[in-house]
């Protein structure tokens, strides 16, 4: 009786862990030359288009006027010099108002009563109907000097938004609602204690409500404090296919103040009237900013705004933003989507899927490994593409002497990393769709219709914004919100439309929409991959 020893291979058992699966999928990806070329192409196309856009910017000193368009605001600054004052937060701001001021040394407060705020379009006859734009502002302000863009805190009545406390251009808190009138005056108070300025309002001068308190870092011991009046442009927007137009009508506002009382040390003996203007100010004909004082009653007229400038071709801020450099993202996205679709469909076309599933029968894990490999590769390609586009284009545009919307570095980082994340998740989305439909044409069709077309329709002005905003809310293209260069401000009226870089969803909310669609697609794909014969 001989015992037969069963054959046993001398080779070591291969492990079938997830690491091996990842390695296998990575090998498949990196050994197909066309796919690697596709990823490199995505970087080159996105970066190249960014450089092209940067290269084509015009210096801030030359202003174009096209037919029917009032064009960007004329900048008085010399070529290459920054054309906009920057606020304490580094954002470009408008700092133009009529200021009736005195220095305030150390702590103290100022209280006034506002009894009237009226407005008009300068240049029109006295008989024209008075117009108060909703964000005409009149009130009291404490400001770090009269330098353009210096920090401040202010209490004000507005044309249509009640009492507000505003500070450092971007801060805004509501106070008492309603419009100011002789019958319904508004009392305002600002009080300084160290770096903290507190605002109060009242309807009768006896019952006071605290509206807000803000800490202004680095406030000097002596600030300029007093009355101010300003009134922003009344803008009307219209758009046709391929172009948008804006009509900016400067407005002026006049306010009447009385019951001015002060506490603290006010070393000057009289009030000084100043019209603070920035380099972006336009000359307005037919009205004179100024003030006159009769028996404790101040009548002040001013025009302009104390507010952040808004980016975009139709707005008063710099027309070009970092987001414009990344408009080529969609072309890079198409290249990555083509690779991601083929990463799955090539398995079916060549019959490789049977070998893959024989080697690793856990189908869900195969899908996960593929998603990780294509997502990581797309993230790296997206990061290289976005970084190249932004950094190179910024360099080229600076060489051109053009003024570009300045970004704080966290925003720039979010835009670059967000673009990479957008491309990575879109690649996984494409992979999941390709797993479901198994044909590259159908997969690409779905990705094009859901991501690329909504973006393409929203990028140039002309398509009604209500439609493109809806598309950018519900489709996976919502993730392009990650590229939004600047926040929307409730307190500034402007053209907040997708073609100017303003998306209907917040950056990470938009990204979550894409992630949600991708998760749904992955679950369906995993289900179908397990249930169907390969």
């Amino acid at each position: 009786m001989t015992t037969i020893t069963p054959y046993r291979s001398t080779a070591r058992n291969a492990r079938d862990g997830f690491g091996q699966l990842l390695h296998a999928e990575w090998t498949k990806f990196r050994t197909v030359r066309g796919w690697v070329i596709g990823m490199i192409l995505a970087v080159l196309v996105t970066g190249g288009l960014g450089v092209l856009i940067g290269k084509s910017t015009v210096p801030s000193c030359s202003v174009q006027t096209s037919s029917g368009q009032s064009g960007p605001v004329q900048h008085g600054a010399a070529c290459g010099a920054p054309a906009y004052p920057l606020g304490p937060g580094g954002e470009p701001v408008q700092d133009q108002f009529y200021f009736v001021r005195q220095p305030l040394a150390g702590n103290g407060s100022i209280t006034v009563r506002v009894t009237s705020l009226t407005g008009r379009f300068p240049g029109q006859g006295a008989g024209s109907a008075p117009v108060v734009v909703p964000w005409s502002k009149a009130g009291i302000i404490m400001k770090d000097g009269t330098r353009q863009g210096s920090g401040y805190a202010a209490m004000m009545v507005t044309g249509g938004n009640g009492v507000r406390m505003q500070w450092n251009y971007t801060g805004d808190t509501p106070g008492l609602p309603g419009r100011v009138s002789a019958a319904g005056p508004r009392w305002l108070r600002l009080s300084r204690d160290g770096d903290t300025i507190t605002g109060y309002d009242s309807a009768d001068g006896t019952h006071w409500t605290r509206v807000g308190a803000v800490a202004l870092g680095g406030l000097p011991s002596t600030v300029q404090a007093g009355l101010f009046v300003t009134s922003p442009d009344a803008a009307t927007y219209s758009s046709s296919l391929g172009s948008g137009t804006v009509n900016n009508n400067p407005t002026a506002a006049t306010a009447v103040f009385d019951h001015v009382s002060r506490t603290g040390r006010w070393p000057a003996s009289a009030w000084t009237g100043d019209y603070l203007q920035g380099p972006t100010s336009m000359g307005i004909s037919g009205y004179t900013p100024g003030y006159h004082q009769v028996a404790g009653r101040f009548t002040v007229t001013g025009s302009g705004d104390i507010a952040p400038l808004i980016a975009g071709a139709l707005n008063d801020g710099p027309a070009i933003t970092v987001r414009d450099y990344l408009l080529g993202t969609f072309a890079g996205l198409i290249a990555v989507a083509v690779v991601a679709a083929m990463f799955m469909t090539a398995e079916y076309r060549r019959g490789l899927i049977r070998t893959t599933l024989a080697a690793s029968p856990h189908r869900g894990r195969v899908l996960a490994a593929k998603a990780i490999v294509i997502g990581s590769a797309a993230f790296v390609a997206g990061l290289a593409a976005a970084a190249a586009a932004v950094l190179l284009a910024t360099e080229v545009a600076r060489g051109n002497g053009s003024s570009v919307f300045p970004e704080p570095w966290p925003t720039e980082l979010r835009i670059i990393a967000g673009t990479a994340a957008l491309i990575a998740v879109a690649a996984v989305f494409t992979l999941a769709i390709a797993t479901m439909v198994r044909r590259s044409a159908a997969a690409i069709l779905i990705v094009i219709v859901t991501i690329v077309i909504p973006f393409v329709l929203s990028a140039p002005p002309g398509i009604p914004a209500s439609l493109t905003e809806w598309l950018l809310r519900v489709t996976p293209a919502a993730a392009f919100a990650l590229q939004q260069p600047a926040p929307q401000y409730y307190q500034v009226q402007a053209s907040y439309i997708p073609s100017s870089g303003f998306f209907p969803l917040a950056p990470w909310t938009g990204f979550a929409v894409l992630c949600g669609w991708t998760a749904l697609a992955l679950v369906l794909a995993a289900y179908l991959l397990r249930r169907r014969d390969a």
Binding site: L241, L327, A335, A341, I444, V452, L457, S466
Partner: protein
């Protein structure tokens, strides 16, 4: 390889009949693939749907607007063309992905005749379907736009194919879609891979309008718009302020025709001289 084919044609069908049979064979292939019908339907639906949505979202307030109603109600062409691209690409690349191309070329060794037959059929199909879609878009514009402020009071007449510019915009859009199909066919013949061809054509089409929207240098902007197949081709939809266009509408469509001719030539050359 050429010798037996030449021998066969000597005793086989004549020139005209050969062409007809190539056409018939290609038609059978196109007709019997389920995706062709569905995609044509989807192209029409997307064109009409997007156009109607844009009509419904447009507004011409009493203060006036500068919109071009013909262009507005034909916006869907910009979306529908994506599916036209896919139809045309699949007509070629499907043969490569299934290996059918070897049978096709064994049966019909004259490769340029095969390509010509495909081009004729695809152009014909797209012309027919897009004519229906564009008519529906014009109809939608007639029905929807007057309710959104595009009335005679604001200086807008009802869209009508009896007026020269509107007729040009409508017919031109139909031709535009057919030329897009031919451009895609040429690219697909050159690259053979479905996904790559679709990506290339759509990238080429959409990159010009997106990039020119951000370019503030008007000199560059005009030049890029003039050479882009989509930007130039869509000038045909303009009915207002033609003087501000960098090219006349028909010149614009001509630019697209040049792109299509170039792509078909490239595809034809590659097809003729490369192994299948």
């Amino acid at each position: 390889m050429n010798a037996p084919a030449a021998g066969l044609t000597a005793v086989g069908p004549g020139q005209a009949r050969y062409g007809r049979e190539t056409l018939h064979a290609e038609w059978t292939k196109l007709r019997t693939v389920a995706s062709t019908g569905w995609l044509l339907l989807a192209a029409a639906a997307l064109t009409i749907g997007v156009s109607a949505a844009v009509d419904a979202a447009a507004a011409c307030p009493a203060s006036g607007c500068q919109a071009d109603p013909a262009k507005l109600s034909l916006t869907g062409v910009q979306a529908g063309q994506a599916i036209v691209v896919i139809i045309a690409v699949l007509a070629v690349s499907n043969e490569y992905s299934t290996g059918m191309i070897r049978i096709t070329l064994a049966a019909m060794p004259r490769r340029l005749a095969v390509l010509a037959a495909k081009a004729t059929l695809i152009a014909g199909l797209v012309l027919t379907v897009s004519a229906v879609a564009v008519l529906a878009c014009v109809l939608a514009g007639r029905l929807i736009l007057p309710g959104h402020g595009f009335t005679a009071a604001h200086g807008y007449l009802l869209l009508s194919l009896s007026r020269g510019p509107d007729l040009r915009a409508a017919c031109g859009s139909v031709l535009y879609l057919a030329l897009i199909a031919l451009l895609s066919l040429g690219v697909a013949t050159a690259v053979r891979e479905t996904a790559v061809a679709i990506g290339l054509v759509l990238g080429l089409l959409y990159v010009f309008p997106v990039v020119t929207s951000a370019i503030s240098n008007q000199h560059w902007q005009r030049h890029l718009e003039q050479i882009g197949p989509m930007t130039a081709g869509l000038y045909i939809q303009a009915t207002a302020s033609l003087r501000s266009l960098p090219l006349t509408p028909w010149q614009g469509l001509g630019v697209l025709a040049l792109w299509a001719a170039g792509a078909l030539t490239l595809g034809g050359l590659v097809f003729r001289f490369r192994d299948a």
